[in-house]
Each structure stands twice: as C-alpha cells, then as structure tokens.
Symmetry: D2
Amino acid sequence: MSTGKKKIYVNGINEVPLPLRQIEIVERKGVGHPDSVADALAEEVSKALCRMYIKEIGHIMHHNTDETQIAAGQAAPRFGGGSIIDPSYILLVGRATTRVDTGKDVVNLPCTPVALKAARDYLSRTFPNLDADSEVILDARLGMGSDDLTGVYKASGYLANDTSFGVGYAPYSITERLVLQTEEFINGKMKKTIPSSGQDVKVMASRIGDDITLTVACAMVDKHLDDKSAYISAMSEIHDAVYDNALKIAGDEKVSIKLDVNTGDDYDRNVFYLTCTGMSQEMGDDGSVGRGNRCNGLITPYRPMSMEATSGKNPITHIGKIYNIMSKLIAEDIAEKVTNEAEIRVRILSQIGKPVSQPLNCSIDIVSAGAEADPNFSKWKAEAAAVADGWLDNVDKVTELIATGKVRTF
Amino acid sequence: MSTGKKKIYVNGINEVPLPLRQIEIVERKGVGHPDSVADALAEEVSKALCRMYIKEIGHIMHHNTDETQIAAGQAAPRFGGGSIIDPSYILLVGRATTRVDTGKDVVNLPCTPVALKAARDYLSRTFPNLDADSEVILDARLGMGSDDLTGVYKASGYLANDTSFGVGYAPYSITERLVLQTEEFINGKMKKTIPSSGQDVKVMASRIGDDITLTVACAMVDKHLDDKSAYISAMSEIHDAVYDNALKIAGDEKVSIKLDVNTGDDYDRNVFYLTCTGMSQEMGDDGSVGRGNRCNGLITPYRPMSMEATSGKNPITHIGKIYNIMSKLIAEDIAEKVTNEAEIRVRILSQIGKPVSQPLNCSIDIVSAGAEADPNFSKWKAEAAAVADGWLDNVDKVTELIATGKVRTF
Amino acid sequence: MSTGKKKIYVNGINEVPLPLRQIEIVERKGVGHPDSVADALAEEVSKALCRMYIKEIGHIMHHNTDETQIAAGQAAPRFGGGSIIDPSYILLVGRATTRVDTGKDVVNLPCTPVALKAARDYLSRTFPNLDADSEVILDARLGMGSDDLTGVYKASGYLANDTSFGVGYAPYSITERLVLQTEEFINGKMKKTIPSSGQDVKVMASRIGDDITLTVACAMVDKHLDDKSAYISAMSEIHDAVYDNALKIAGDEKVSIKLDVNTGDDYDRNVFYLTCTGMSQEMGDDGSVGRGNRCNGLITPYRPMSMEATSGKNPITHIGKIYNIMSKLIAEDIAEKVTNEAEIRVRILSQIGKPVSQPLNCSIDIVSAGAEADPNFSKWKAEAAAVADGWLDNVDKVTELIATGKVRTF
Amino acid sequence: MSTGKKKIYVNGINEVPLPLRQIEIVERKGVGHPDSVADALAEEVSKALCRMYIKEIGHIMHHNTDETQIAAGQAAPRFGGGSIIDPSYILLVGRATTRVDTGKDVVNLPCTPVALKAARDYLSRTFPNLDADSEVILDARLGMGSDDLTGVYKASGYLANDTSFGVGYAPYSITERLVLQTEEFINGKMKKTIPSSGQDVKVMASRIGDDITLTVACAMVDKHLDDKSAYISAMSEIHDAVYDNALKIAGDEKVSIKLDVNTGDDYDRNVFYLTCTGMSQEMGDDGSVGRGNRCNGLITPYRPMSMEATSGKNPITHIGKIYNIMSKLIAEDIAEKVTNEAEIRVRILSQIGKPVSQPLNCSIDIVSAGAEADPNFSKWKAEAAAVADGWLDNVDKVTELIATGKVRTF
C-alpha cells in the first residue's frame, strides 16, 4: 500500500513472531563496555557539535563523528585499591564543519575543543571510578571542512547522504526487556546499594522455550572491596538484587529465569573480575563505534538489524542514523496503536540526493501466524500506514529528539 | 534433532525464502573502501601473527587484532595527477602474546613489527596507486601479553572465549551473486582494461520483484585521466564492461538489470568521483573493522547477520570468528548436498569455557514455503545434521582455512 | 688545587669578565613559550614522580622524563575572542620505574597517570587563558621499567649515569638581570594590571658598551581586547610598565636602556601579535625540552653553557641535571662569599659508574683582568675550594632542592 | 672595524686559545644516537622539501621542520639475533607551505608525504640493521600553511625571521679532530671489517694537558655475534682499529691517547651493550632535535656554542640555521687564510625583518695570547674582515650548500 507520493508498503507475514519461537538470543553491552563507551563518546561529540552549531550559526552544520577507537590500557587491580599502569587511549575520529562563510562574516568554529570537552565531561560524569584527566588519554583526529551559506539555502530541506536504509522492530520481547532493564538496573538503582559494581556490565539472555538463562558479567571495583570475602559477598548481593529485579520485570510472563553472575570467576585459583575503574578497557579490552548495541539498546541476532553505526552520525542528513531511529519509532507506535500481538518490522530505504523526508519506500511487515487472515488486518494496514506517514512528514522531530538526547543510539 | 553429545537441531520453516520475496537489498564494500581496508589489515595482521607463532613456537598463540581505525587524510586530486596533502592515519589496535615461557627458554616475539610489516605489505600489493610508505601513516597500539607453556598443555583443545554465537546462510541469491561478483570483476579482470578505476568500489543492489537496480560507486584515479572527457569515456567503458559482466552472472535467471555508475557525479558543475589513490580514505572517509561486509562478503539486511567483526580475531578460541565462518561453511554444504531450493540458515551457540568443538547447540533452519510438508524433508534433516556434525568434529580445519587465508572474512 | 680525595681545581683567568666586554647578548623564553612549556611539563612530571615514589616506596626511583614534544595547533584569534580550531598536541616522553619488588611485595605504580595529572595541573594553574581539558591534547609515551629492591641496597649512594659534566657561572650581569626580571615582572606583577598580556613572552637584550636594547615580544589575549585601539593602548601600557620596572632593576648601574615591544606588529596592515590563549603554540610554534633557557633561566651565548636539558631528568643519578644545577649553586656561593667582581665559572665532570658525590674533578675559574695578580687571589682560591667541597659533600641537598621545586630548571 | 654598510668588527683577544689550555672536553653523538637520528630526519625532511619546492614552484618556500621526537621502543636482543618487541616511535613535527597561489593556478603540495618518504629513505639507507618499515613507527604532525605569490615578489631577498645570532669557531683542536674523525671512522671504514658494530656510537674525549682520554660507547648488533666470546673478540678488534686510527689522526701532535670502549660492560655479570638494530632508541633512549651535536659535528662545552637547533630549519630565512653555518664557514676560512695559530670565533647577529644578507653586525675574535701585539695583527684584521664580507655578500651560496647537503648540520 502506498499513500500519496510516499511509497509506504504494508505487508502481512504469516510467520511465527520471534517471542513465540523456540530460541532467542539477546545481548546488551552496558554503558561501561568499551564498545558502548565508544558509541557514547561519538554521540556526545555529535550532540555537543549540534548545540555549538545552533548557538553560533543558528542551525546544525554537516559533521560525522561516528568513529572512535579505544585501545585498552594496562592496570594492576588489587583488593583495597590498585593502580592504572598505562591509561587506555581514546581516539575521536570524524569530520566537522570548522569554517562557515555566513555572507556577512567568516566564522571559525572550535570543533575539536568542543569534541574533547564533551568526551571528557561524559567520562567524568558517567564513570565515578575513572579519573578522566589522567587515566585515559583522549586524542582526536577530526577532519575539517568549510561551508558557504552565502548561496541560496536548500529550501527543500536536507538531502540524503547515501542510498541506504534503516530498520526497526517492536515490541520488545520479554527476553529483550529482561536484558535491557537488567543492565539499566545494575548501572542505575543498584549502584546506590552496591557501589563496588562497575559500569562495564554485559548482559546476555538465551531463551529456549520458556526457560531464560540470564548471564551477567560485571566488572567489580577494587577499592570498594577489601578482600576476597568482600568480593564473594558482593557477588551474592548482586545475584539477589538482579534476580529480584528480573522477577519484577517478568511480572506475569510465563517464563522461568536462571541467573549467572561472573561465571568466569574461579575462587580457588583466585580469579576474579576485578578492576580499578569498573571498566575493562583499563586492561585488555578495546572498543569501537558500531560494534555493540543497535539503536534499540540491544544485539538481537534473530531480529532484523542494520550494520550501520547510529552513534556519532549527524542527525540531519545521515540516513544510517535517522532512518534506523525513525524505523524503531514507527514500529513502536504501530505496535502500541495497532497491535502488540504481532511483530512489527519497519524498513525505510533512502534515495541519495533526495530529501530525507522522501524515502524511496517505507516497508512495514506485520508478522503474525495467520496475519493476513486476521479480520482486523486491513484496518491494521491502514493504521500502520498512517503512523508511518505521520513520522515521515516530521523528520525534523526525529532530528530534534536525537540532538537533544531524547532517544538512545546504543 | 540432536546427534550424540552434540546438540544439533534441524527445523523446517514454512516461510518464503528471501530470493522469492518482494524486496531485497544487498551491498558490498569493495576492497578499497575504508571499512574493508580496516577489515583486511586486521585479518592480515592476525594471519601474519599465526604464521610467526607457528614458526617460532610451533602453534598459534592467543591474540586478537580485530580493531583498526582509519582516519581519513586530505587530498587534492586533479586530472593528470594531484597530490596527497595529508596522509590518512591507520591505527592497528589489539593484543598479542609477546613473551612465551616454553619451559626451556623465554622467547620474546616481535608482534608489533610483524603486524606493521603485514599491514604495509598488504597495502603495497593491493593498492597500486597508493604509496604505502608515504601516503599513509601506519601506527600500532598492540597490548602485550605473556604465556606460560610449562604446565600441562590443554589436551582437550581450545576453549571458547565467550558465550556467543555464529550465524550463516546459503545459497547466495542472484542479487547477492550480482553484488559480490560485480565488485570482484571491477577490482579484478576489469583493472587490466580500465586502470583508471580505483579500488574503492561500493556495489549496492535493490531488487523489487524481478527488477534489480545495481548501483556502483567507483573512485577514479586522477593520474590515469587527462581531463573531463577522459573521465566521461571511462565512465562509459565501466558501464559497458560491468553491464556485460552482470548479464553473464545472471545467466538464465529471470531478472532485469538496471545499472547506475557514479550517480553522485554532476558534469555541469564539474563534480567527479576523482581521487589520487583510488581510495576515498585519502579525503574524508574514515574506516573501522567490523563496520562493513559480513564474512560472506556482503551486507544483507534481510538475512540473519552477526554483529561480530570476523576479521582480526584469532582463529583458535574466538567464537565470533570461528562459528560465523563455520556456520557459513555448513550452510553452503547443506545447500549444495541437500537442497539449494530452500534457504539454509545455521546458528551455532557457544558455551564459555567449553571446548570450541562443543557448542551449546547448532540450530539449522531449512526455510521453504511448505518445507515440512516436503516429502524429502526428513531425509534433508538427517543429511543436514550429518553435514553439521562433520564440521563440528573438524574445528581445526576451520582454523587452518582461516590462518592460511582460504576463506574470506569480509 | 685539589682538596683531599676530591679533585677541585681553582684557576685564575686573566680575562675581562663578560659584563665589562663590548658585546653581550641575553635571551629568556618566558613560561608561555613552547620550549618553556615543554621544559616545565618535563620537570613537573619528574617532581610528581619523585613525590609518588617517596610516598609509595620511601625514596625516589629511577626515571627520566626529559623529553616533551609540543606540536602547534591552529587558532583563529580575533578581537573580542576567537577560537581554537585545532588543539596543540603535547607528547610526554621518557621512562619510569612502574614495578618494584620490595621483597615483601610487588608494587605496581601509576606513573603515566601521575605524569598526565601533573602536566594537566601545571597547564591549568599556569595558563589562565587556556582550557587544558579541551584546547590541548595531552599524550604520553613513557617507557616502563622495573626494579628489584630485594638485594643489598647501594650503600655508597647513587652512581653517575654517564661521563658528563655540568657548568655554571655567577654572578648575573646587569643585562642578564634585566632579561630575567623583566620576564618575571611581565608574567607576575604586571598581570594584575594588564590581564590582556599573555604568558608567551620572549625577552632579548643586546648590550653594546653601556647601551642595552631590550626587546620584548608578548602574545596578547584576544578576549581581553575589544578592538585595535584597545590593543594599541595595551602596548603603550606594557611599554611604560616594563620600562619603569627596568629602570628599577638597573638602579645605579651605568647603562642606558632602550625598549621595544612587539616589533613585528604593523598596525597599517593590521598585523598584531594576537592569540586566544596567550601562547604561540596555539598556532604555528612547536616546542621541545632543552631547546630554551639553561638552568639559570637564560640563554647566554657569550657564557659557558651546557647542551644538556636539565628539566625532566631524575635528580638522583642524572649528572646532566645535578651537576649543572650544583655548578650554578657553587658559582653563586663563591661570587657572594668570595668576590662578585670576578666572573666565576664552575665545571664539574663525572665518572660513569662512580658515586655522584665523587666527580672526576671540579674546575673553578676566577675570571678577572689581572686575577692571579690580585693580592687576595690565594685567599679566594682556598675559599672557593671550600665552597665547592661543601656542596660536593651534600649532593643530597641538591636532590632535595630539585625534587621540592626550590631551584629553577629553565 | 666596519666595512661599508656591513658592520664587521674584528677584535684581538689576549687569551690562551682553547687547545693550549689545561682542560678540554669534547663529545660527538654518532649518526645512530637518538638525538642525531632526530637531527638527521629533521634535516632530511627540510632538504626534501627544498627539492620539491624548487621542482614544483621554482624556489624554496617557507617551512621549518626542526622538531622531531623519538620515543624509544622495547627490544629483546640476544646473541645470534633477538627481537624488537615494540618499535620506537618517531614523530616529525614542523610546518610547511602546502598551498601556493602562483597567480595562474593554485598548487597543492604533498609536504607530509615528501617528509615521510625522506625520513624513511634516510633510515633505510643509514641503518642496515633496522627494518624501517616495521621496526619504527613514523608519524608526522606538520602544520600546513599557504602562500600567495601573486603580489610583487620580495626583490630584496629573504628577510630574517628573528632577532637572533649564529656562532662558529675554527680551527678544530686535536681533541676535536680525534672525536669527530673517530666517529666517522667507526661508522665508515670500520664497518667493512667489523659489521657487528652498530651506528649508535658516542665518542667523548677529555684532555688534561697533553693526555687525552677517548671514551667510545658503541652499540653492538646481536645477529652478528654468536655468543659472549664473539662479543669480547669484537671489543678487542674495535679497540685496536680505533686506537690505530687515532694515532693516525694525531700524527705529529704532542699528545698521549688512552682509549676505553664500552666501559659499561661487565662480563662477569653478563652485561653487554647489545642491541638488535645497533641503535639504542630500540630500548630506552629517546631523542630530540637540537639536543646533540652543534653544526660543526661536536659538543664543545669550553667553546662558544649556540643553543639553536640547526637541523630542519629552512635555509632561506632562518637565522638560527644560516648564521650558525656561515659563522663556522667564515671562521674556517679565516683560520685557513689568515692564521690557524689563533682561535677564530665568529658571531653574526640578525635584525628581525631585515634581509638575511644584512646582519646587525658580524663580530670576529682573533684569540691568541698576545694577539693584538702580533706584528701581523692589523693585516689579519683586514683579511678577516674581507673573508666575512665575501660570505655576507653570498648568503645564497650558504643556502645552496645547505639545500644540497654539502654542509653538515649535526
């Protein structure tokens, strides 16, 4: 089905939705995982540039800061408090518009300082056990560009930078909610009672039928743990807190949950997941943008995913960012307004050089065993198309949600 | 279905295989694309380390070099030959075993020199228009580790480094073959007749029904093109050569092919895709490992994909590498030996700490409208399980195929 | 003349002391000059390591951090306040003991974090117009070493690291005092009344006979100057303040002083010495350790000088640091206690592998037209030797003066 | 005495020339010493830029590449051949004109590629035991500048970049010749017979009266030495070869020579000066431009020296380079043509903004006990002034000697 000039296709797919299938695997790399740190820094830099451009020029200028490389350091954690021997190294990579001819004036813009400040501020406020001034080395290689605003401004709005696509789905399955909210719990509310838990948390769930095995790896912070027995106690506390919280998340869902925490530990051989900073990048774990969570916060190998890194891309022309996030928003709205029994999958395909608001097509799948036979199906189709149509008319709203940090990118 | 101790499940899925569906999108980033350069360098470094370890120690030691960051340079291409103003910067990142206690002796190993040599050699032999000595800056931050071989050697073989999974499918659709083989043609045979075509080639195909639109973006090399008209002629030659080749690839398939080359050009405004080196990393395009092609050489948003970077990981313990490649090999064997009418999807899930040869399970989907009703289905199931069983008994063979460069990783 | 085991030679040299000669050239690079910034960072890092070693191990461990490279950035200063476009890049280089086996325990030490913290703190507190978090990139490549304290500790004290020498002289000439104290005035007291003056100040004096031409180059800070006329006023204020202060320094000395400030300016062509940070490293001026002032704060081409960088070297074994500073201290004491009419030159030569307190020889020149004919000469010789002897017996005192920052190194 | 517009002063100084005094210390850091490597790379880069500018633009453009930082690597040498564990890191720093508006055309110039190529070529051809492709990391941070040749070209020639000075002296003393020629011998002729000797050679001489102690530290190359006894034999061969050569250098001079080689060795404790590459930068020794030899190839603490780094500066406007080299050339010509009995010291002082060929003054000292009383003195003065006058009229010749590598800079 296509509405007006926009090509919006809605199809029913007679398949079993993922949550009803036999196997499901879901993973989330927490905020302290090196890949998430890279994603966050890339996105923080982009948001800070957006704010700076709006303040100095009046609107967002072209930039892409969607590459950040973290090379791990060396640390010597020990109970009671160890030492960072060699800081991890963080290289911000990308490009930004540093010079703008506004017609009246040539304005030079402090892009790299803005980027470094945003990155350091993020590290400081997010990782209480890391000294962002001395325990990481923060470097930047941002290519510089210039822009000329003296000509006629593009009346038609921003143009797609690429022939590319975005993909999203909704609603979250119970397994997905467990993974997402468990990490949020550990790095949120739980920190108040168990400060020895670090930010590098990895949560993985595998569901076979109704049995969900939740595996949590949580870097522990040495200075908050006096000795081995303190570590073992903390493990027990974490297990209990996370398990209780998981039961709350599951609510009435018909699943049984098994929880493992730090399975790599071996107390007999004195192997613990102990760190100085709560971040495994201090010792051995590198990180990079786009290697971790998708923009719904998860890695879901049984679901459609885009390879595009969402974090760090500019929110005005970059299809890989805007359409991925918009696909997710559309899918969520459809799931909520139309049906949350089915699995809603949305794909939006761009045309290079055409306005971002005019994709080549937007394809919506309503996945449900017997979807097309459902008596409500034709109503669903119309409603789904209307939801998509509404969002496509409001690309600016997606840009704004991104630039103000109101949607996640990892 | 499970065979013996290994849990191998084979399921029939009553879905329409991708090649028969309405929409398909496939992309390949050619060898000169910055993400592919990053993938290749990561993998070349790993292979060179494998060779060095085998020579010096007798077997492959632990390493992971699966992060490489390329920060774009600055170039001033011009017809007849321009200049690289600022080299692109390539940072190899990872870790390797540099010190081995063999019991008799402590051996120090030149890991970073081996890595740098492998990387520079690859650049030199792959990119004839790039001076790898002066037009890139090659840096490395490889963490060092040590290992002790004096204890009892792990008789049971290598252990999985993570709870993770691999995923693969077969056979390629016609759209996929067109994309893959078009890039191989442009960067292979076509180079002899059209040397002005660079290595940074991006091929995208979107199929709607039987209509395939093939879009090629090919960086052109300035020194081989005297002027605008030479460029325009080269475009025409490339179009004809690629189109002819595409028809050969398609053979008897019922598809119609439309081809666009360098659609970003605008001759009136003198906009050309012109470079000094045939690589867009010379000016503005950054690159990173694991952001481009999956280990089957493609990006296929409508197919199951793993987020794991395959390139650069060690081929002895790293699930994200071994199981992805093995899944693809199993799927290909099943497609060939059992049925290539269906879409074969394979997923292998590891257990951290267990031998790589003992996955938690291997799940095979035979996707075909009416799969389970097919009279051959139970035979297919048995045969598919036997194929998987054979590969799982021979993880070493996968390791060897990787270490000797006989399977692609991007 | 040799006293006891120490070989201390005192000679009279029948030459005209420098201050009485026809020509003299003296230069000082102020604290904001890139070479001085490099010197200061090297020394701050060394002092911070000393404090850390004393706290963690009980005494100073081996280190040398006497190399720091500053690569200039890019800035766009403008009246009222411009922008840093590309931060300057600062690379700390050297080595330090990161791992100590104390017999009871192996202690890992956070050398690079300590170095980065010391460097950033220095930048923050010294350069009020620089945002040390975002307007410089601070990197470090400190080689790591280990030490074993389990054996018998070197009872004889620290051993000289090299066959090398130190050189010093006293007293300062009037030209030298003018240069040194002018920079101290501009970067000290004058800042309160003229905050638009930056820290990158270069003072040069050339004396021909009694005529001293004092040339001051002072980077001005854009945000404190609204426009060209504010700049011109500031120049006038600086000229008056510096000139008045110079007259005070000169006191009763028979010299005439001519003062030039920012001679490179060209108001007609709108050429000003304008910066965002008060530091020329923001745009175009690189810096390096050991390229600027000697350890008496000056560059004095007509005086004996050592090529050795003093800043950043460890103060326990490094001859190039200890003997240079001790030579200056000895010369100053001799000038004060014995005669300040003559030019006192001191050279101390080490023997590699011998204790620092046992130099090969210490050679003292008493330079004065008719020195040896002076009736006081033999008394001078004895007194000078006694002064040297006293210092050589107290190398530890020099170490302490250095480690606690009580003597300058640049 | 002043000739015409040029202020050339010639003075007789009634002092004892250095070679006749009691004590003399002379040092040379050989071509493989990290400071010399830094000097050489800086100068090679400048010369390569000069050649490129002449080829592309017709004359040398502004540049300064007089900063290079070498951060030492890690190596594990062993008899028979060890390994480089971590390459040394070399950062080229400076600035160059990358963009020239010739009036007809804007030309972009490949400065950083030219710099990297020159540096790598130098390393390859100078250090046979170093693999310049993999055992060093070569990085560059060259600031870019642009120039506009469309205006009236500076008819008066190049202008001094600074108020600065150059200093030189002649002739070499016997101690100085011994040091200079010993290093040249070890790194020249001797390499054919003793290939195990590396390029990192440090030669120091201290003369007390007529007794010269020559101390040589020579990095040995592990792969050319099978074991300890081979090392000991090589030491003996080097001692004999260097001593014989020293006697030849000394010729009829009334000096006695004592020679020590690798005094840091301790055979009982198996301490050898053993390296993989013949360069101590492989392990622990950092290097930097301007920290080693002056432009006469020596460090001579009892002679006048300039702190200015000569290497890497451009040879058209940089006083610190041109006047240092010209001072030495003038002194040498005076010593040869006028008198080589006296010590000739030359100082040339620039005026910022005035042509390089018009220094503020050139001051020549003829140092000799009883100089002014010498009957030839007034003839000497006239001849010395004429020599200086001739060179000052031919600054271009100095530029050419530098740009074509016909004078040394370190």
